[in-house]
Amino acid sequence: MTNLKGKNLISITDYSKEEYIQILDLAKEFELNPKQPILTDKVVASIFFEPSTRTRLSFESAANMLGARVIGFSNPAATSLQKGESLHDTIQMVASYSDIIVMRHPRDGAARYASEVSSVPVINAGDGANQHPTQCMLDLYSIRKTQGTLDNLNITMVGDLKYGRTVHSLVQAMSNFKATFHFVSPKELEMPESVKMHVKRMGLKYHEYTNLEDIVPFSDIIYMTRIQKERFSDPMEYEKVKNCYILDAATLQGCKENMRVLHPLPRVNEIAMNVDTTPYAYYFQQAQNGVYVRQALISAIMGVK
């Protein structure tokens, strides 16, 4: 066991494979017993420089279940930032009132910078298009929980693989566990070369598809993402492909029994409602798991677990 006390979590590469497992094990403990008032003397600052209700509520719920008090803001328009205060000064101020900072910011690298300015540890709840490490951890937790292991799985990722930071992080994380990857996307939204290179360097295999049906029977996990119209230079291209990456109950015929469908949420129409009632739907529990993972992280970083 490593001591994670005081350790920032900015990027998924900040923690080792062993440290991830440690957090996942701790999260399991919180899933069994979520209400543990072990941080009653602590203040968690939750500062959201851009709105993200889902992530914020998950963190604040985690902090509350640990008995901590939560301060912060969810709307940058209501803060002194509107008056031009620097991130540097805001972070120093918030750090003086709190024991740990959870922050979301629209700029890439803002969380890393905040961690260098802050006197208390920082958890990155998303910095622009760069990192969102707690999403990755809850994905790992959900995969391990549904499959009983993280090793040697067939992970299928579907949709916008070019811009989706969650899939990039997940590939990086799952590469530690000998996964085989299946990338399903339209040509325009293919997995970036740098991510594919990473898979190769780790001595692992990936396959690319444009058709989802082909790979459904072989998948242990199908990780769905949303395809955004704005990503296409040609709107006609979008119209052509938009329905090819919709998962419905019929598509799931013949899938493995252990297969589970994940999605970082919110979904739009890429997973049909009729999937929700199949035993394969796991995206709502996945979101719920986020609370346990965040409880585990906060308590480990605060040094009480």
């Binding site: 990027s11 620097s86 991130l87 540097h88 910011h105 629209p106 700029r107 890439d108 690298g109 803002a110 890393r112 910078y113 910095d127 622009g128 298009a129 760069n130 990192q131 740098s194």
Partner: protein, 148 residues
């Protein structure tokens, strides 16, 4: 040709000669060192014949020596450059510039959404490859090739 080259290099009493600059990088070196603000003599030669580079540039700066941080900047702009420090008409130091493993406050991040381009923050990059130069921003984590 040889005589001219000789003249450019040798006619300096005290100062620095930056030689073997790729011709296209000459003005980049001038800019990053703010040589336009240097009040003493600056001689800039470019498109000179070079066996190694085809066409090279050379800059002679009178009464000026460079700190390590500035030499690192030269290395990034012109990795092939050599630096000759001259005191009393004598070459006292001659060396090849070298790109350091970490670039601290030397180049800007190309990502417009990077926090270093919004707040007043000193940039920091890890060098992934030196030839061709490939670096990764410590903040936004974007890999970039500043000379490409």
């Amino acid at each position: 040709m040889d005589n001219k080259k000789e003249l450019i290099v040798s006619a300096i009493e005290n100062g620095t000669v930056i030689d073997h600059i790729p011709a296209e990088a000459v003005y980049r070196v001038v800019n990053i060192l703010n040589l336009n603000l240097h009040e003493d003599e600056v001689l800039i030669g470019t498109n000179l014949a070079s066996k190694k580079l085809g066409k090279k540039g050379i800059i002679k700066i009178k009464n000026r020596y460079f700190a390590q941080n500035e030499i690192d900047k030269i290395a990034v702009a012109a990795p092939s450059a050599t630096l000759i420090e001259i005191k009393d008409y004598q070459k006292v130091v001659k060396r090849q510039v070298e790109i350091p493993d970490i670039l601290q406050a030397i180049v800007k991040c190309i990502n417009p959404n990077c926090i270093t381009n919004i707040e007043d923050i000193s940039t920091r990059f890890t060098v992934i490859d030196k030839q061709p130069l490939k670096i990764k921003c410590h903040y936004c984590e974007k890999t970039q090739e500043p000379l490409a």
